[in-house]
């Protein structure tokens, strides 16, 4: 038989061993001890009871016989004595009766028929006469002596009689008084019982007790087995559960089983291991508790920031809605203006051709058609000038309309590639006319800017906010440098002014919604926060650098390779 088979059998066939064996043996030992003690006690009680019964029987028979012999002995009626003695020989095991006179001399002997053979031996049984003589000689109350010999029980009883009453009244009537009569000893009676019945009774008791013991022994064994099994089963299950929970391997388990031979020892080991693990866990928890406050603070800050961003997003949404509405309005107006302008721009080339034809006609006619040729020339120059003005106006109007279209382009085209430089130009075209005279704008646009995916309208809004902020930061005469360049991060757009700069203490707050340093009613405090939100959705960053008194510089970094969040969102939609 190979080793794995042995191992398998060892695992499967759990012979009583270890704690179970100890428990079983203990139970069995206690049961056997208790049983034995009870049997011994029971036997002893039975023996004592049997002995008492024998004594009681002997005392009873001797008392009855002494009572019955009182009158015959008083009158020495031997015939009656013999009759009375023979009458009690029906009693079991009564082998002989001896009657003594008042001096202790044996005057009568009677033997049971079955004891006739041993009569001489009984007659000569030493000490009986002496016992009776001492009993009769004793004054006052003296307990009836009983004597136990190897084969016999002997009971002695004094026979006495009361004298006649001296009270004459009691001769006639029942006076109800206990008369003190003189008691006279007549002699004594001695009865000899065989111990055979007592011995048989004892043997019967012992036999019954042994049978009882043999009957209860298997029950005790079965009970011990069941009890130990019931006790050890949960213990073993507990050990196994602990082993699983502690991740004890079979090899480790076998090693431990060699150290601890019973389940209690294994449980002890498991509990110690468990305690060790618990201590480790508590240490870890203690360590974790130490940095918990900091983590909570950090999480709280993150949550605060998230909340802030949520608020910003909400504000941006509101602003976006506003801007969307305004964009639609502006787009409608621009479309109508564009249509009107198209009449002008569409009419200007034929008008120029007509005017050129008219000039050629007039030149061909010379002075025939126009006496005042100078005046005509003047008018023509004036017409040309006016035509140029009209053409320029139309061109400008078209440009404005185009810029308005660019600004108010809807957000649903976020993913379109945006030319940042073009977007900046459009924004400046809208913003600058108002501040043309007091703001010097320096454009340092890179030529090779890659397109940035995103919303042109929203980016124009951001640029507009930054330009307007620069203007507001320089109320008298200002300077604004707008530079674009491209790096690996993406497209950078820098707005640098020479205003008063941003104080250090509010630099962290400028992107917060509704934070403004402007007078009440002049600023909403939403510009930079909206811009921050827009750039964030474009996965970009907006950086601020400022030194008080040295102006401020905002840098927008827009990635070129990533779609804006909203664009993706729209696409998913």
């Amino acid at each position: 038989m190979s080793f794995p088979v042995l191992h398998w059998m060892k695992k499967k066939i759990r012979l009583p061993r270890g704690y179970r064996l100890k428990l079983f043996l203990t139970f069995l030992g206690v049961l056997v001890l208790c049983g034995t003690a009870l049997i011994v006690l029971f036997g002893q009680i039975q023996r004592q009871t049997l002995l008492e019964e024998t004594y009681n029987k002997g005392n009873f028979v001797s008392t009855i016989l002494a009572r019955n012999l009182e009158i015959p002995l008083f009158f020495m009626n031997t015939e009656q004595i013999s009759a009375n003695v023979e009458a009690i020989f029906g009693a079991t095991d009564l082998v002989s009766v001896f009657i003594y006179d008042r001096e202790g001399k044996r005057i009568f002997s009677h033997f049971a028929p079955q004891a006739e053979g041993i009569a001489p031996r009984l007659e000569e049984m030493g000490g009986l006469g002496q016992i009776m003589a001492e009993h009769l000689a004793a004054d006052g109350y003296y307990p009836n002596p009983r004597w136990r010999q190897e084969h016999y029980f002997v009971f002695s009883k004094r026979i006495s009689t009361a004298g006649y009453s001296r009270d004459q009244t009691s001769l006639y009537f029942d006076t109800g008084k206990v008369e003190q009569r003189q008691v006279t000893d007549l002699g004594g009676v001695q009865i000899v019982f065989s111990r055979a019945q007592y011995t048989q009774g004892m043997e019967r008791i012992i036999r019954h007790v042994l049978l009882l013991f043999l009957f209860f022994l298997p029950i005790s064994l079965f009970t011990a087995v069941m009890l130990t099994r019931d006790v050890v089963r949960p213990l073993r299950a507990l050990v196994e559960t602990l082993s699983i929970r502690l991740g004890i391997t079979e090899e480790e388990e076998e090693e431990e089983e060699e150290k601890a031979t019973d389940e209690l020892g294994q449980l002890d080991i498991r509990m110690k291991q468990l305690v060790t693990r618990l201590e480790q866990s508590f240490d870890t928890i203690a360590l974790m508790n130490e940095g918990l406050e900091e983590k909570v603070a950090a999480r709280t800050a993150e949550l605060t920031r998230a909340m802030q961003e949520l608020k910003e997003a909400q504000a941006l949404l509101v602003q976006s809605e506003k801007m969307g509405a305004m964009g639609q309005l502006v787009a409608g107006v621009a479309h109508e203006v564009n249509n009107t302008t198209n009449f002008i721009t569409g009419a200007l080339p034929p008008l120029g051709k007509r005017l050129d034809e008219l000039r050629r006609i007039l030149d061909g006619l010379g002075k025939q058609c126009c006496p005042d040729a100078s005046r005509v020339a003047e008018l023509m120059q004036s017409i040309d000038l006016l035509m140029g003005n009209v053409r320029e106006g139309a061109r400008r109007t078209s440009k404005i309309v185009s810029d308005l279209k660019n600004f108010s382009r809807p957000d649903n085209d976020l993913a379109r590639p945006i030319d940042i430089n073009h977007c900046l130009e459009s924004t400046l075209a809208l913003a600058l006319p108002e501040y043309r005279h007091r703001l010097e704008v320096i454009r340092e646009f890179a030529d090779d800017l890659p397109p940035v995916p995103g919303s042109q309208g929203q980016l124009c809004q951001v640029f507009m906010n930054l330009i307007i902020n620069a203007v507001h930061a320089q109320p008298d005469k200002g300077f604004l440098l707008i530079r674009t360049f491209s790096t690996e991060d993406g497209v950078h757009v820098v707005f640098a002014d020479k205003g008063a700069g941003i104080p250090k203490n509010i630099q962290e707050k400028i992107f917060e919604p509704f934070f403004t340093t402007k007078e009440v009613g002049k600023g909403t405090g939403l510009g930079l926060s909206v811009s921050f939100g827009i750039i964030s959705r474009h996965r970009g960053r907006i950086l601020m650098r400022s030194e008080p008194g040295q102006g401020a510089e905002f840098e927008v970094i827009l990635p070129t390779g990533q779609e804006p969040i909203m664009a993706q969102h729209e696409e998913h939609k």
Binding site: E70, I71, F75, N77, A162, S165, T169, L171, Y172, F173
Partner: protein
Amino acid sequence: MQEGLISALRNGAQGSTIYDRLFRVGKISPFLYGFDASVKKCVPLITMLLVALAVPAWALDCVLLQSSPLKPYEEARQGFEKVWLAQPSATGPKSISGNTVTQILLSEQQTTSGFSLKKQLQNARLVVAIGDQAVEFVKDLREVPVVYLLAPSAAFLPKNFIGIEMRIQPSRQMAAINKALPKVRSIGVLYNPGQSGQWVQEALLSPVASVQTLLFKKFDSQTSLPGALQEMAGAVDAYWLLPDPQLTAPQVLGSLLEFSMKHRIPIISFSEKYLAPGAAMAVTFDTVDMGAQAAELGARIARDGLSGDIPPLTPPRKVRVVANPTVLERLGVPYAPKGIDATYIPEGGR
């Protein structure tokens, strides 16, 4: 009105309070019934006068001293009171107030009150002593006549003591036996010459025709009893138990009862006491009648004084025969119910 008063006084006399029991006031004698109407009108006045001249506490009429509340003593007392209170008073003012009797139970008296009790007895007109203890208590009295009864130990008493003996003459007993057990012809008797020799003489001198044989055997030693009984066996129809302590000793009585059972010979005893152990019949005195006899004797002494014609010892006048029918039936002895005054009923019924 007079009748009402008399009735009230009667009722008072027969009341049952403790005071009445110990110091019983006598009733007004009914002799007033014989007077005419004019005299009867004066009865209330006379009654009030008599009440004013009432007998003082020390002047008692009759004192009945009872040894103990033993049943025969009680029966004797009741018999005495019944007759004594019905007797007309002898002389003096009491002739219109009737006899009174004061009962004193000696066993309930404290030992310290003996002297005062004797003083009280000395002032009585008559003392009745029931039982040995009572006789022993009053045997020092010399001036007051004493009637005693149920006192078997009474002996050597002064002349002022008149007693009713407990012994019934043999002839009367034999007549009663003959009447109750008509088939009995010969009767065996064990006797102790020192104790009952005289009685034997009397019995021998007063033969009854129906009883042919009286077989007397002396009983003077322990060992003679079985032999004597053996001799009686087959020779007698009944055994006559005499009032002798030696013959009623437990072992002797046991032998007699055994003899009775063995030879079917009924035992005729002198007291009901022996019916319970196995005697077939008791020829004894009637305690109630003995009390009545004492009352009549006392009345005679109160009326006539201790005259010489009153013997110091009077036999009981009534013989009472009590049978134990169970024993008689078991022994197969026929008996005549007419000759039996009462039957013995064991305690708890038959």
